[in-house]
């Protein structure tokens, strides 16, 4: 294992400390492993709380700031945070206008966030939850509720954050977040494994000439292994899976080409090039696009492509937003 770390069992705590001090102009620490936007609570504004396991930066803490999330809880590497930091973040961001939890669909996150939600509701805080499940290949369409949340959460939170920033009510923020989620699809491919520091060995091994299609952002196996191929043909295949799952024909879309952590930015632009060619040929209009590492799996080499079908509301929210979070900005 080649990592820039100290004792691997200290990694999350040290990462948390480093993250807080590097971003102390935008966020504040509000618990053992929880942060909130520095201005929180903001009078009248719905607070958005995100979180999940560590190892996915910028997700999740990197999106705390103006225009996306108000608070976040840090879990251990690839492990949902316990309820406690979620509760701390909730209390810190609650201005009385209510709090929305939004996170990827993983059993651990659901259990822990639900615990926090129950607790905070007992405290009299209005809390609603929108669980995200954009990963097309993680379950068939008729079992979409089992699908994981991966790269697409970046697009969904972009819309959700803009809505909350516009001082919409909790119900309105929840509604647009659910709508954005329902219109977002992602497929990923991985070229290498990643290594959980305290584990010390790669989670899985992949032969030098193979790649995995549909794998998760924790190194969970995908739906199949295929021979390494030219990227254009891989992108053709995964975009086809997305287009087969939701009707994008003639629509406006937001596109995310997301790096999983270990692939250089140069390759992400190669991916975007192909995605934009396919969408053009399919009569789909790119209205918003972003290329970058947004939801990662430590140092895994690979990429995911997300498409969000836009209606006027979502379009205007994502286009006109100003975002100033710890790790993502949009002017």
């Amino acid at each position: 294992m080649k990592k820039l770390i100290n004792d691997p069992f200290d990694t999350v705590q040290e990462l948390f400390e480093g993250f807080v001090s590097a971003n102390d102009h935008l966020i504040k620490q509000v618990g053992h492993r929880s942060i909130a936007r520095i201005e929180s609570p903001i009078a009248g504004k719905v607070g958005i709380v995100v979180g999940g396991g560590s190892g996915h930066l910028p997700a999740f803490a990197g999106y705390v700031g103006k225009g996306m999330a108000d608070g976040a809880a840090f879990g251990n590497i690839f492990a949902s945070p316990p309820a406690k930091p979620v509760i701390e973040a909730t209390i810190a961001v609650n201005s009385g206008a209510g709090v929305m939890y939004t996170y990827g669909n993983y059993q651990g996150d659901c259990i822990n966030f639900d615990k926090a939600q129950d607790h905070c509701r007992e405290l009299g805080i209005q809390v609603q939850t929108v669980v995200l499940n954009d990963d097309v290949l993680s379950a068939p369409k008729d079992q979409a509720h089992k699908r994981r949340g991966i790269g697409g959460l970046f697009l969904v939170w972009h819309v959700a954050g803009a809505k909350a920033e516009a001082m919409a009510s909790l119900d309105e923020v929840v509604a647009v977040t659910s709508k954005a989620n329902a219109n977002t699809r992602t497929v990923g491919v991985g070229l290498t494994s990643c290594t959980v520091p305290a584990n010390g060995k790669p989670t899985f091994s992949l032969p030098e000439d193979e790649m995995e299609i549909g794998l998760g952002i924790h190194g969970e196996p995908g739906i199949k292994r295929v021979k390494l191929r030219p990227i254009d043909s891989v992108i053709d295949e995964i975009v086809e899976s997305i287009l087969a799952d939701l009707d994008y024909k003639g629509s406006d879309v937001a596109v995310l080409v997301n790096g999983l952590g270990g692939s250089p930015a140069e390759e992400l632009y190669l991916v975007y090039r192909r995605v934009s060619q396919i969408l053009k040929a399919s009569n789909i209009n790119i209205r918003f696009k972003h290329v970058g590492e947004q939801v990662t799996a430590l140092e895994m080499a690979g990429v995911s492509v997300s498409l969000m079908r836009l209606d006027t509301e979502m379009h205007d929210l994502i286009k006109n937003s100003v975002v100033d979070t710890c790790m993502y900005k949009k002017i």
Binding site: G108, A198, T203
Partner: protein, 214 residues
């Protein structure tokens, strides 16, 4: 055999923690085949927290209080799926041990184990056969409950219960997972031994070993 006091229960948790950490890499490996490769890490983080908490307990601790300390440790430090499951399990164990000054009887342990398994099922909603730790735990619970009615030796009861859990854990190889990360793999997960079932067997073996050591 001397009394299985609260202090002894606390001490047994320390041995459980040691055995779990010794198996960290093995558990990660099992989890990595179908999950995200962190199960040994999550269990170790939890058990280290248990160790810290237990080391702060007074000698006069009750069995109940020892289990509460373990529950609190898991609640604060672990997260993941396994964190709330073990938190709930230890909290149920505490409830089952309530009012007891010792856990000398096989029935005391049968009640604790059963409470733990049930709490995990209530929270995690897994059925038998879903390829989770319950597929090791429930057979073990059935086993010890039967022994409790017979009234034999506590140590050998705990030992054979742990053995039953381990055998059942090994048998999870044949199951197709329905819960958690591995559920998405369907048949691709067949042939792999469930990580959580394996660690549960290690936990039960740790209790047996500690009580035997006295």
């Amino acid at each position: 055999m001397s009394d299985v006091t609260g202090a002894k229960v606390a001490k047994s948790l320390l041995l459980v923690a040691k055995r779990v950490e010794e198996n960290k890499d093995y558990l990660c490996e099992l989890d990595g085949e179908v999950g995200d490769g962190d199960h040994g890490v999550s269990m170790t983080i939890g058990m280290r927290a248990v160790t810290r908490a237990v080391n702060n307990l007074p000698d006069s601790v009750t069995p109940q209080a020892a289990f509460v300390a373990a529950a609190d440790a898991y609640a604060d430090e672990v997260g993941a799926t396994i964190g709330p499951l073990y938190e709930a399990a230890f909290r149920a164990a505490a409830e089952a041990a309530k009012g007891k000054t010792n856990m000398n009887a096989i029935g005391d342990w049968a009640a604790v184990y059963e409470a733990m398994a049930v709490a995990i099922q209530v929270l995690g909603k897994a059925e038998l056969g879903d390829k989770t730790l319950l597929d090791a735990f429930f057979p073990a619970v059935e086993h010890i409950k039967k022994l409790a009615t017979g009234g034999g030796d506590l140590v050998s009861a705990l030992e054979s219960t742990a053995k039953c859990a381990l055998d059942s854990a090994i048998s999870t190889k044949d199951l197709v997972p329905q819960k958690g990360r591995a559920a998405r793999l369907g048949d691709r997960a067949k042939g792999h031994q469930d990580a959580g079932a394996t660690s549960l067997a290690i936990v039960l073996a740790g209790f047996a070993e500690a009580i035997k050591a006295g």
